[in-house]
């Protein structure tokens, strides 16, 4: 399902215009982004948990150069699906 389809379906079921739904979705994802940025997880019932974790800088072998490389540190967003969605899609 594409984002456009999602917005169309949402506007049909909630009875709001598509532009309004788009704006609301955009601002709510932005707030979720800011929360994840502060290293706080988000629980959404029926879907799962979003959280972020920090990965230290590390050495890794690069087969193309045949040499070791130093990879920079980074933060990764991960999603744990909830048990209800897991069972439904089995």
């Amino acid at each position: 399902m594409t984002n456009l389809e999602l917005i169309r379906n949402l506007s049909l079921s909630l009875g709001k215009s598509q532009a309004e739904i788009k704006q609301l979705l955009k601002s709510s994802t932005k707030i979720m982004r800011d929360i994840l940025d502060k290293d706080i997880g988000i629980t959404i019932p029926g879907l799962g948990i979003f959280s972020s974790y920090f990965k230290k800088e590390r050495k890794s072998f690069n087969p193309y150069h045949n040499k070791f490389m130093l990879l920079p540190p980074k933060r990764i967003i991960r999603f744990h699906p909830g048990s209800s969605i897991k069972n439904e899609l089995k």
């Binding site: 909630l14 290293d39 050495k59 899609l89």
Partner: protein, 333 residues
Amino acid sequence: MKKKITFAKLLDKIAEETGASKQLIHDLLIETVNLTREGLNRDGYVNLSGLGRFRLKWHKARSGRNPQTGEKIEISGHNSVNFKAEAKLREYINRKYSHLQSEIIEGETEQAEAEPADTSIKPTDTPSKPVSETPSHFKWLWLVIPLLIIILAYIFWPSPKVSETDIKEPIVSEEIDKDVPVPPDEAEQPESKPVIKEIKYETTGRQHTVMHGEKLWTISQDFYNQGDLWPNIYRMNLNEINNPDLLSIGNEILIPPLQGKPGNLTQKDIEDIAEGFIEVYLAYKKSNKGKALYYLWVAKKWNINEIIDKYSDRIDETDLELVVKIEGYPNIK
């Protein structure tokens, strides 16, 4: 245990920021969840703009063992939900490390793979030995004596400003370093952990780091929900931005707060934004761009004579006369 935000708190936050009712936000998010489940069932993937992409992954049936009893079990094929964050989101979360790149370590080939594991063990072994040999009460003495000296020196010294700095530092650092060496693992960790400060938006404005593909218009769209107000951002960052059409990646810019909301601006907001428009006019005028007149026209149409007077010596008079003649009304307000 890591911090987590509950669904109710998330709803509160979104409702507060957008001004929509809590019920509407609740319905929106719950409906989004239902639709994602439906989409995953039907198509096997859902794209959620702003967050990322959910995808179903099929795991084949395989045989495994029960780790407790060692019995053989047949694991049937099943689906799992896979999530990948959007490129923009990943870039935003990692904006602190955007200047870092992977580097080749010279002189190490595949055969040297075992070496780093050996070196990592050595430093952890060495600090534990001297600590275990010295008796515990002696360790306390070494810590207490320098502290006593410092306190006495602080009380009896005639000019404390000079004496403090001279005596305090060398004694404390030498003694403590000898007795309790800091393990290397502990010393490295706090540097690598990201520290994020919270800034209150209402009073001071928000700090923003320019990312790839951003313009002042898009930033204004993101923060004010209205792209037209970008001169207000430009006004606050005259030192940082030379050309309003050109931002460089990594620029730290300040986004000033609005008293009202877009569509319902207060008089002070309009004055600020008009000032921004005049600053943009001046910048474009400098580089001889025709669109400079438009910005002056907008500022003039708002009838804020104080601001025009403030910049009167820098605004071209022929431009002002020309602008007055143009009819119509800007549709920004």
